[in-house]
Every structure is written in structure tokens, then in C-alpha cells.
Symmetry: C2
Subunit: 350 residues, 2 copies
DNA sequence: ATTAGCACTCTATCCTCCCGAGTGCCAACA
DNA sequence: TGTTGGCACTCGGGAGGATAGAGTGCTAAT
């Protein structure tokens, strides 16, 4: 994007003003609020140019300008400067996240909650992608005839379990044997390398009769597969209703309707993550603005996520969905700080 | 409430019409839609009477009448007749609930989801109240030095677990001893009879040194206490935005704001449950209308819940929050049917 | 390249007017 | 005593119209 300095400043100013006032900004008010050493007529020329480039647009002929998606994009990519949070703000976030919890999941939920409260927007987090973590323990406990609990401890310090159905006449001892065999041969294997065949091979060493054995192995396999399924935590949807950007009931309904399908949102976050990886992006955050988001009803939103790390190979995402008319520099630094604290806390679990 | 037959019919008709049209209903349109064999002037007299009794009210002088909370209450208590669902509707619900799941929790979530979809309102369920269930198994598994997993199997077929911190130098064998001792002496005890003292007494029989022992016992106790904590599942909040009753953004915001605090809603459901028990109510459902609900922002809502039973002594609630302008007879029978199916499915887990 | 000036545009707001559905009340009636 | 037709009155909501004000694009001068 070829923009001379003043045009950059004008775009910057338009975004800033529009974000803070929620009113289309005109050449005159631009002069009033900022110290451009030129006349409003000059700015009008610049603005016409910026409009021509598709960076700003007019809601209607005789109104001021508002940034277009492309304008926000330019702002985010090249114009804004991210400022650190004040010590006070940092403290506030630290206090909320540091509540002692026993499980990583709780920690992530905490962070999500904190993020929604500090930004005032919808926050979300994905559970850690556990495909690359490996099995440290696997135990099958008899619960009652026909029912057992598969407990798995993963390298990332995560514990998963699943109730499974097993043949009625299997006894404690047989289950222990199977459990031991699986654990022995799968310990240390990354989850994404464990297949049904791997599990069945592992079970062969036991003397449990074939058909019974097979069912248990299958259930154990299913439990392992379920362990790396992704969850999403969404919070603060109702906050969107307080924003002037969604004061039209129709927009608000579409937005919350889409957000209510958490599976769909999770899928989209995954897509973003994968796209970023393919591009080899080294940004510490990902951002999608307005129409760039392919989810229904999020045209007026921006979607910002960062990646947290539970271990070197196990990570997840945390971020917010807010109006695209947001204070990007602030929100990004909030997300970034929450992520940083989250990473620090996570070290305690691994 | 002393009402002659025609006045009852008038109130009935007003509620019906208002529910279906969302317009204040006047004497004239009442005559048109129903076969009262009297003139509109007569109905006007009746309506004045009903208003005097506080059963209906006018939004403003020259408008028709709408039912007051008291009017809905009278309608629900004495006027409406609950009709069975059609076989088709029943089938639809059965189909959705019958998806095979391995855990009671999943089943409850399913039912909640179904209820929100069939009613089009917010649905909710409380997790089973497990205070009266008893411990069938308790195992403590070492995860890694300093960390263990307490797994509990309860009489209601529910499995609960919790990661706890334990002293670093405790070894597998010691944990097994403690685990065995607790299990041996607490098996068969209802959760609400287990206290810290009970657990500590149980642990005394082991030869594990005092201070180490004590911490593990405390953590085990905490895990047991956490097992009977209540959860609430809320779903379909966004559906409220599609209802004309919440077309004012302010109302919608207040409503969703309150619903976002699920702990508060859970507390309220508990209150309702306790109140119903104290009254020895034998209704199969509980209902609160408008201002009867003490939660902020629910003035225009009705809250209907039924009680499901996991076992004789373990139960929970399931129900909906909808606009008070709802088809009560229909919604109640939907809840009732979902509850019935839920009870049937639950039998398979116990 | 910048600026002052000007005619033009469009929305948002406020007023006013008026329709119509609905009411309460009264007098007459069975 | 309960029911009815008639009538004057009320009030919200929608339609129409005028106006202010912020903003624009264009032109001609600097």
C-alpha cells in the first residue's frame, strides 16, 4: 500500500476517532481533534483518495467516513503501535488468573473468563491440541460388571478419562491384564500415532479370549481417540448486546446465533490456526477483520487469537471476538498478556 | 378466586388470544374469535371486573387487555388443560434423546438440548443431587510425584474424579494403602454423611506417617465433597432474541446478562426445588411466572421445571425459561415428556 | 499542492395530524 | 339484575412535511 505520510496519519486518525466516537468522521472534526497543519479541504482531498483506495467509505453521500475492512487491516498491519498495559492493568489480570487450580482445564477457563472481563467482549479458548502429547499412563478400572473407566495420564500433565462398556463376564484380573498390556506398549507414544491396530497388537500378549479382548481394546482405543478431541470455551456472549455496534436486534441475533454453535466456532478457530501455520506466520497473534471472517453474522466483528503453549509440542488458542470497531492496540496487548500469564501458569502443570 | 363460568372463559380466551397474537385483546376481537353468546358490551363489563381483580391489565387507557402475572397464574392453576403431545412430536423428542451415550451427564445434556430445540426457549438442567447417593468405589491413582487422581464410583452409576496434590515423597504403595482404607470404611455411606472426621478416622488404620497421611486424607475428602457439587446446563439463550417479547434491546440484555451467571440461576433453581419440597407439592412440575421470579431481568419470563429421577433418592431438575406469554399447556407437556424419557433412559445407567 | 468558498445532499429529528381500535358509561330493555 | 346498543372520549402509532446541521465535491485563486 503506497501512502504518503499524511494520508497514513489521516487514516490513523479516522480509525481512532471512529473507534472512540462511533460516528462517521468528517474532515472538519478531524481538524478539530488532531493537529494537522493543513485545511479541511486538503484533508477532504486525502479522504477522497483513501476512499478511492477502498480504505474508508461513506455510509451515505453527506456523511463522514468510516474505515472499511481493508482500512482496519491497513491500520492493524502498519499503522498502530501496540502499547504495553499499565502495571495496574497487568496486576488486575494476574490476580484473576492466579487463583490456584488443580487442573489445566480450570486454568484455561479462568483465563478465558479474565479475558472476557477485561476486554468486555466475547472471549474464547480452545483446549490444548493433545495429538502430539504422549501417553504416560493408562489404567482401566472396573466400575461394575459391564462397565469400566479408562483413565489416561498424558505427557502434558493432562488427565482424561472415559466410561466405557465392556463385556459383562470379564473379571477384574482380566481387565488388569489388558490394561497393563496396553499401557506397557503404548506408553511414550504420541496420541496421533496410536491407531486401532496399535492397540490391538498391544493386547495380543494377554491370554484373554479373543472376542472379549477385542471389544475392550476397541473401547480403549475409542477412549484414547476421545482424549484428543478439541473443546472450546466461549464466554461473555451477552456482552455483545451492550455494544452500540449490535444495537440492531437483527445483527445481535445473527451474531449470538452463530456463537451458540460452539462446534462451528471451534472449527473456524482451527482453520485460522492451520492457515497461520501454513503461512509460517511468526506473529504472536492472528487477526481476522469483518468479512474476512467466514462465519455468518460476524461481518461487524473482529476475531483475534493468540497461541498458548502447554508444552513445546502441545498448544491451543485463546482470544476474543469483538466489534471490528475496537481499540486494537489495547485488546491485542490484553490478549498477549493473558497468554503470557497463561503460559507461565501452565509451566506449573507440566 | 371466585369467578363465574363466563368470566373464566373470558380470561381463558384473553390469555389464549394474547399468547397467539402478542396484541392486547379487546372486547370486540374477543367476540369475533370466540363464540360467546353475548355482546361486546357485556364482555367489557366482565373485563372491567377481571381487571378489578388484578387478573388482566391495560398497557394504556385505550388499548385492549393483557393478562397480568396473577392472570397467568390463575390460567395455569385452574383454567388450562394440558394436552398430550401428538405421536409425531413424541417421536421427534424420543429420537433426539435416544442417541446412545456412555455417561449420565451426556444424557442430561442431550435432554437439555432437545428441550431447547422443541420449545424454542432457553432450557436448563441441574446435575443430579448426589448427596444421597453412596460411595461404591474410591481409588486413588498416582499420576506423578506430588499428584494423584481420586476416582469415585457412586451408587447412582455416576463416576467422578479429581486431580489432587499430594506430598511428593509418598510412594505408590502408601497411596494404595490409604486408598484401600478409605474405600473399605466409606463404601456404602451416603455422601452427605461423609465428613472430614469420617475420612480421617478411616485413614487411621494405615501405617503411613501422620503429616503425610493427613494431607492425602484432606484431599480425598475435598474430592468427595466436590463430587456432589451441583452443575447447571443452560442452553439456547440466543433464542430469546427471536421472540417479540424481547425485541427491546434493554430487556434482552438484562435477561441474557442474568442468564450468563449460571451459578445464580442454579441457586435459584435450588430455591424453587426446596420451596416445592417444603410445601410438599405433589405437582409433577414447578412454575414461576413473571415477578414471582426473583432474578433480575426475568420479569417477562416464566420458569418451568420438572424433577427427573436418577434413582429413588437421587434427582435433579430440568426445564425451560421462556416468555411468560407462552403456550403453557404445550410447553408443560413437552417438559413432562422429556422428563419421562429422561427417566426411562436413566434406568439404563443404574 | 493547498486553500477558501459555495452549492448541494442526505439523515435525523421534531411537529402535527389523523385513523382506528378500544374504553367507560349511560339509558333502555328483558 | 344482567344484558345491550349507543356514544363521547382516549391514546398510540404511522404518515407527511419542514428544518437543521454536518459533510461532501468542485472550482477558482494562491
Amino acid at each position: 500500500m503506497q501512502l504518503d505520510n499524511r494520508k497514513k496519519e489521516v487514516l490513523h486518525a479516522i480509525v481512532d476517532d471512529y473507534v472512540s466516537t462511533n460516528e462517521p468522521v468528517g474532515s472538519k472534526s478531524l481538524i478539530e481533534r488532531h493537529s494537522f497543519n493543513v485545511s479541511s479541504a486538503t484533508l477532504r482531498n486525502d479522504m477522497a483518495e483513501l476512499e478511492h483506495l477502498g480504505l474508508i467509505e461513506k455510509p451515505h453521500t453527506s456523511a463522514g467516513r468510516i474505515p472499511s475492512d481493508k482500512g482496519y487491516r491497513e491500520y492493524v498491519n502498519s499503522l498502530m503501535t501496540i502499547e504495553e498495559l499499565t502495571p495496574k492493568e497487568q496486576l488486575e489480570i494476574e490476580k484473576r488468573i492466579n487463583t490456584s487450580v488443580d487442573e489445566v482445564t480450570e486454568l484455561i477457563k479462568n483465563a478465558t473468563h479474565t479475558l472476557s472481563e477485561t476486554t468486555g467482549f466475547v472471549s474464547l479458548a480452545m483446549s490444548p491440541r493433545l495429538k502430539k502429547s504422549f501417553l504416560k499412563q493408562l489404567k482401566i478400572l472396573m466400575i461394575e460388571p459391564g462397565k469400566a473407566l479408562v483413565v489416561m495420564v498424558l505427557s502434558a500433565g493432562v488427565v482424561k478419562d472415559k466410561v466405557v462398556r465392556i463385556p459383562n463376564f470379564l473379571n477384574d484380573e482380566q481387565i488388569m491384564k489388558i490394561s497393563g498390556a496396553i499401557e506397557k506398549s503404548l506408553t511414550g507414544k504420541p496420541l496421533d500415532e496410536i491407531t486401532l491396530v496399535t492397540v490391538e497388537t498391544a493386547g495380543k500378549s494377554t491370554d484373554v479370549p479373543e472376542p472379549l479382548l477385542k471389544q475392550v481394546l476397541y473401547e480403549a482405543y475409542a477412549a484414547i481417540k476421545q482424549a484428543d478431541e478439541l473443546n472450546i470455551y466461549l464466554e461473555g456472549e451477552h456482552r455483545m448486546l451492550s455494544l452500540p455496534d449490535f444495537s440492531s436486534l437483527g445483527r445481535a441475533r445473527d451474531l449470538l446465533g452463530t456463537l451458540s454453535d460452539s462446534g462451528m466456532v471451534a472449527g473456524y478457530v482451527n482453520e485460522m490456526e492451520n492457515a497461520a501455520r501454513e503461512l509460517g506466520s511468526d506473529d504472536s497473534y492472528m487477526i481476522r477483520i469483518g468479512q474476512e471472517i467466514t462465519l455468518d453474522g460476524l461481518d461487524d466483528c473482529s476475531f483475534i487469537t493468540a497461541t498458548y503453549n502447554l508444552t513445546d509440542s502441545v498448544s491451543g488458542n485463546i482470544g476474543v471476538i469483538g466489534p471490528k470497531r475496537m481499540l486494537y492496540s489495547k485488546v491485542i496487548s490484553q490478549i498477549d498478556f493473558v497468554k503470557k500469564k497463561l503460559n507461565e501458569e501452565m509451566k506449573k502443570f507440566t
